[in-house]
Amino acid sequence: MAEKIVSLKNVCMYFGGIRAIDDIDFEVEKGRVFGIIGPNGAGKTTIFNVITGVYIPTSGEIYFHDNLLNKLMPHTIIDKGIARTFQNIRLFEDQTVLDNLKIAHFSHTRYGLADVFLNSSRYKEEEQRIEEESIKILNFLNLADLMNKKAGALPYGEQRRVEIARALCCKPEVLLLDEPAAGMNPAEINDLNQLILKIREQFNLTILVIEHQMRLVMEICEEILVLNFGKKLAIGTPNELKNNPAVLEAYLGKTN
C-alpha cells in the first residue's frame, strides 16, 4: 500500500441548517493527482477550506500524514506542508509579483525582529535566499518577466499561474488547486495539464484539484472523488467513474 498523505474521516461541515459537506471520507495517496468534481454547491471548495483550517469542521477528523489538523490555524497547516490556490484569485493586487511570492515564504524565513533592526548577516542572507528561490520558481513557471509588475495589473491567466507560483513558495508537500482551468480554452487547458504534471514532478508534490473541466480531470487525475449535495457519490479512477451509472446520471450525463 502506498503512503496516505491526506485523509478525511467522516468530516461534516454545517452552516446553521445547511450541510455544506456531510460525512465525507477519503484518502489521498502520496504523489497522486487527485480530482474532486461535482456540480456547483456540492461542497468542493468547502473540503479545501476545512483541510486548510479556514473552517473548523462540525465533526470528523482530517489528517495530514499522521497529524490531526482539525483545530489548527491556517498558517500552521500551511507550514506543515499544504498550500492552496483560490477559486476567485486572491493575489495581493497592490504588491508586485515578486513580493507576492516573498510573502508566501513567511513561515520558513528564519530571522527575528532583532535581525531586522540590527541588519544582521542572517537577515541579509535570508532575504537574498527567499528572493532567489522566488525568482527560481517564477522562472520555472515562465513568469520571471513579470516579477516587478503589480499582481493586480496582470491578465487573468497569468494571475492564475502567479497564484500557483505563490503556493509553491510555501514549500508544500500537498498542493490544492481550486478550479485552475476556470475560463480557459482547450489549448490553454492542455498547457495547464502539462504544467500540473511538471510541477508535481519537479516539486515532488501530491495534488488535489477541484475542476469542472472534464478534459483536465479525465486526462491527469489518477483518482477522482465525485460529490453531490455535500455527499460522497463515488470515488475511483476516471475509467471506473465513466462506467458508474450513479455518476453518469448525477453529473457526467448532464455535462457531456
Binding site: 510573502i103 531586522v116 537577515y123 493586480g152
Partner: protein, 331 residues
C-alpha cells in the same frame, strides 16, 4: 510599495538617513546660533514629536490597514509613565533616556493587549473598541489621584529639547524603515490587502498584528514622553477625542503607508494649526473644512503608499511620458 525588490531599498534608506541628518544638523545650527526665534524652534519640536506619533499610528492604520483609535491611550501612557519617573525618580537629565524608554515600553506592553481584539474584530467594530481603550485610559487618569486626577502632572522637568526630539525621530524613522521592509512589513501589507489569503500563504496573522500594535504603541509612547517633558505638564484632557482626530489628520493628510508622508503630514498640520491660531476658535471650522477638501482631492493623502524615490520616479515618468500608467495604485 512599487520597489523592484527589498534588498535594493538600501540606497533609498541611506538617502533618507542623509536627508534627516542634514535636517538635524541644520536644526542644531539654528538653535545654537540663534538663527530663528524660540517660538519657531518650539514649532519644530512639535513637528518632530508629532512626526513620531504619526509614524506610530501609520504602522497600524497605514501599513497594517487596521483603523485603530488607540493612539491617544498609548500617548497618555507614554507621557504619564515617563513624566512620573522623571519627576520623582530620575530627576537628572542624564536619565531622560531611561524615562522615555520606560514610557515607551509601558505603552508597548499595553499595545500587545490592545492587539488581541483585532484578531477577530474588524473595521468599525475594532475602531470603537480601540476608541473605548483610549477613553478608558483617559477616564482612569481623571480619577487617579496619585497622578493629579483631572489636573494631571505639573512641574515635569522640561528635559525635551530639539536634539532629543530629532534624535528620537531619527530612531523612529530608522526602526520603521527597517521594519516595513522586512518580512514583517511585507506581511503587514499583505494582511491589509487580504487577511485570509495572507493566513493561507503561511503568514501568522495574529503574531504580525501583535508585533505591529506593539511597535506602534512603542513609538507613540516615545512621542508622549517627549511632549510631557516639552510642556512641563500633562493632563487627561490632552488625550481625548480631539487629540485622536489630530493624529488621524496627520496620518491621512501625509498619506498612509509612508514614512515621508508621516513626517510631511505632521509638518503640514502643525504649520496649519500655527497659521490658524490667529483665527481662534474659527480655526477648527477651517481645519474641518480643510480636512474634507484634502480627502476629496487627495483621498490617499499626499504620499499614500509612496516614499521619496517613488515620487521622483513618477515625476520623471511624467516628464518623459515614455512609460505611462505605472502610477502608484492601479499599476
Amino acid at each position: 510599495m512599487t520597489k523592484k525588490n527589498y534588498s535594493t531599498g538600501k540606497n533609498e534608506f541611506l538617502w533618507q538617513l542623509a536627508i534627516l541628518l542634514a535636517i538635524t544638523l541644520t536644526l542644531i545650527a539654528l538653535k545654537e546660533m540663534r538663527l530663528v526665534s524660540t517660538s519657531f524652534l518650539l514649532i519644530l519640536q512639535y513637528i518632530g514629536i508629532y512626526a513620531i506619533l504619526t509614524l506610530g499610528i501609520n504602522i497600524v492604520n497605514g501599513y497594517l490597514g487596521v483603523f485603530s483609535l488607540a493612539h491617544a491611550g498609548f500617548m497618555a501612557i507614554g507621557a504619564y509613565v515617563s513624566a512620573y519617573l522623571s519627576k520623582y525618580f530620575f530627576t537628572d537629565i542624564t536619565m531622560f533616556a531611561v524615562s522615555i524608554m520606560a514610557g515607551a515600553i509601558a505603552a508597548l506592553l499595553v499595545g500587545i493587549l490592545v492587539a488581541i481584539p483585532s484578531f477577530k474584530t474588524k473595521g468599525d467594530y475594532l475602531a470603537i473598541i480601540t476608541l473605548g481603550f483610549s477613553l478608558i485610559v483617559q477616564s482612569l487618569l481623571q480619577n487617579a489621584r496619585f497622578v493629579g486626577a483631572s489636573k494631571g502632572l505639573n512641574n515635569i522637568p522640561k528635559f525635551t529639547n530639539i536634539y532629543w526630539v530629532f534624535g528620537c525621530l531619527l530612531f523612529a524613522v530608522f526602526i520603521t524603515n527597517r521594519f516595513v521592509r522586512s518580512k514583517y512589513g511585507r506581511s503587514m501589507q499583505a494582511i491589509r490587502e487580504d487577511e485570509t489569503a495572507s493566513n493561507l500563504v503561511s503568514v501568522d496573522v495574529r503574531k504580525i498584528k501583535t508585533i505591529a500594535f506593539a511597535l506602534s504603541a512603542f513609538l507613540i509612547g516615545i512621542s508622549g514622553a517627549l511632549i510631557g517633558h516639552l510642556l512641563g505638564y500633562t493632563s487627561p484632557s490632552a488625550y481625548g477625542f480631539v487629540n485622536i482626530v489630530d493624529g488621524l489628520v496627520m496620518v491621512y493628510l501625509g498619506g498612509t503607508g509612508s514614512i515621508v508622508g508621516s513626517i510631511f503630514g505632521s509638518a503640514a498640520w502643525q504649520l496649519i494649526v500655527q497659521l490658524l491660531k490667529q483665527l481662534d476658535t474659527w480655526r477648527w471650522v477651517v481645519g474641518g473644512i480643510l480636512l474634507i477638501f484634502v480627502m476629496v482631492f487627495l483621498p490617499k493623502g499626499v504620499f499614500g503608499n509612496m516614499e521619496l524615490d517613488d515620487l521622483f520616479r513618477i515625476i520623471k515618468e511624467k516628464i518623459n511620458r515614455k512609460e505611462p500608467g505605472r502610477g502608484i495604485r492601479n499599476g
